[in-house]
């Protein structure tokens, strides 16, 4: 009996008006609706769920500090065997998928529900300041570092210095991502965007301008994982999780060992590839956390999609846009589709949809494999999964 873990259901919450949750939505019923939709897509019910993984910034201080307990209660899940509230930033959900893989494979549980919800736009909960100057943040918060954008800006300046990338490199990423968003009806921003518009967008933290920064939206999602054996009786085409990895190197950007090199992603992806028995060059597409354009540049290089320092050539001439040589961030990303604060779950959702096929004009051609990589904090944590639509 194959306990090979597979993804059998995904769902993302609908939004309107540039990423606002629909009227009557709050952070719990949003997750309920996503869970029910993802389970229904698979042909499963809440009674099948025996593992719960969730991360988010809601309900704190208070019950949000123990989100798996609250979701178990709210959704009426009966005595789950695996709980995961690991919060390592926006990468958390990719990390949850890795943990769920191990729990399912080991027979601890059979069906895991990964959940996320956020009302940050409706609640106007985001700003560049106001974070406490605690622990290793005593120095940069006191100095007025806009957060988290300023930390990513420092990495960008260092990458520019070390490898000769520049603002045009980053603009290529923003424009390609917007082109994918234009094909996704669920994306918050679908209007065409040009390199010049990115370069002339209002400066925020040099060298990053407005169009280098992710959106601030509401949003949520759900992913359902189970065994290949269980999936045989289900209606959804299973997407195989072939490998995973995770790591972290720092909390504050000042303690990132090398700001122009995303070592956590090098480590997490090499473990994921090795587990899958595949190489970076075997990947047909990539879903890469794009909190900022620089996040993508650093991650592509760390995932081995191109040699370190050569990301500027990899993205040049819209190579990652629709119709380009390498499909990347095909939902429109955190830059143009949605970014409710912790974006990682949407990487899994979109990669699953692409690997299933049938997405119409947004469908990337000839896909077998996908690599998803989430980044959390300020380039602090990383989690990778390798997915395939073919049985290993």
């Amino acid at each position: 009996m194959s306990r090979q873990p597979v993804i059998v259901g995904v769902s993302d919450a609908p939004t309107e008006n540039r990423g606002r949750a629909l009227p009557g939505t709050h952070v719990l019923n949003m997750q309920r609706d996503c869970a029910l939709e993802a389970l229904a897509e698979a042909g499963l019910t809440m009674a099948d769920v025996d593992g719960v993984a969730v991360a988010g910034m809601w309900g704190m201080p208070g019950p949000g500090a123990m989100q798996p307990n609250l979701l178990t209660e709210y959704l009426g899940i009966r005595m789950p065997k695996y709980l995961d509230g690991s919060n390592v930033g926006g990468s958390a959900f990719v990390l949850h998928a890795g943990h769920a893989y191990e729990m399912i494979k080991a027979g601890v549980c059979d069906t895991v529900l990964i959940l996320y919800g956020s009302m940050q736009k409706s609640q106007a909960a985001r700003s560049l300041g106001g974070r406490p100057a605690l622990f290793s943040n005593q120095f940069d918060m006191t100095a007025g570092l806009p957060s988290p954008a300023g930390a990513y800006a420092m990495a960008a300046n260092r990458h520019f210095h070390d490898y000769g990338s520049n603002r045009e490199t980053l603009a290529e990423i923003a424009v390609a991502t917007r082109s994918w968003a234009s094909l996704n009806p669920a994306a918050a921003f679908r209007d065409p965007l040009t390199i010049d518009e990115v370069l002339s967008s209002p400066p925020i933290v040099d060298p990053l301008g407005r169009q280098d920064c992710c959106l601030v939206t509401d949003g949520g999602g759900a992913v359902v994982m189970t065994t290949e054996e269980r999936a045989k009786d289900l209606k959804a085409k299973p997407i195989y999780v072939l490998g995973h990895g995770e790591s972290a190197s720092h909390s504050n950007i000042n303690y990132m060992p090398d700001m122009s090199r995303l070592e956590v992603a090098e480590h997490s992806s090499s473990r994921a590839y090795s587990m899958a028995g595949l190489k970076a060059s075997d990947m047909d597409m990539a879903m890469i956390y794009d909190s900022f354009t620089i996040t993508v540049l650093l991650t592509m290089e760390a995932l081995g999609l191109c040699p370190r320092g050569e990301g500027k050539d990899f993205v040049k001439g819209q190579r990652t846009a629709p119709g380009g040589e390498f499909p990347m961030n095909t939902n429109g990303g955190g830059l143009s589709y949605c970014h409710p604060g912790m974006y990682g779950i949407f990487l899994l959702i979109e990669a699953t949809r692409q690997l299933r096929g049938g997405l119409g004009e947004r469908q990337a051609p000839n896909l077998t494999t996908a690599v998803c990589h989430g980044t959390g904090g300020v380039l602090s944590s990383g989690a990778t999964v390798v997915l395939s639509n073919e049985k290993p």
């Binding site: 700003s127 560049l128 300041g129 106001g130 974070r131 406490p132 100057a133 605690l134 622990f135 290793s136 005593q138 120095f139 940069d140 918060m141 006191t142 100095a143 007025g144 570092l145 806009p146 957060s147 300023g150 800006a153 420092m154 990495a155 300046n157 260092r158 210095h161 209002p202 400066p203 925020i204 933290v205 040099d206 060298p207 990053l208 720092h250 504050n252 950007i253 000042n254 303690y255 700001m259």
Partner: protein, 135 residues
């Protein structure tokens, strides 16, 4: 002295010598007694080194810019009047990296590798912040 409205550090037992030193016009950093590696606040020690083998030393105050950003938008209203202002990670002559402001009228002249030197900005009776200027 006018009231200081910007965010102030939550000083803890690990960082108190740094902030006390600043009040006395000294830039204090930590050094591993075994390896000589210097660091500031970070708990990253050479693997296998007992973290109690740490001493505080006074740094020279000289350094070079490791990386930086120019804030065109403030980190909250208290910083608005400072825009544009520079936040930088400085590699000190002793090796440790420190996150701070570079105070200059010419923010566009700040570059990676640029030499900088410390000065002490007494912002209130209770708080003096080590900041840097182009050397």
């Amino acid at each position: 002295m006018t009231e200081y409205k910007k965010i102030v550090p939550s000083i803890d037992p690990d960082s108190a010598p740094y902030w006390e030193g600043a009040k006395n016009q000294k830039l204090m950093i930590q050094r591993c007694r075994k390896t000589g590696q210097t660091f500031l606040y970070s708990r990253q020690l050479v693997p296998g080194v007992d973290d109690r083998q740490v001493e505080w030393i006074e740094a020279s105050g000289a350094g070079v810019v490791y990386s930086y950003t120019v804030a065109r938008r403030p980190a909250g209203a208290a910083f608005e009047q400072d825009c544009p202002y520079v936040i930088a990670s400085i590699t000190l002559a002793e090796g440790a990296r420190i996150m701070t402001n570079i105070v200059t009228d010419d923010v566009d002249a700040v570059k990676i590798g640029m030499p900088v030197t410390v000065f002490f900005d007494k912002v209130s009776e209770d708080l003096t912040i080590p900041k840097f200027r182009p050397a």
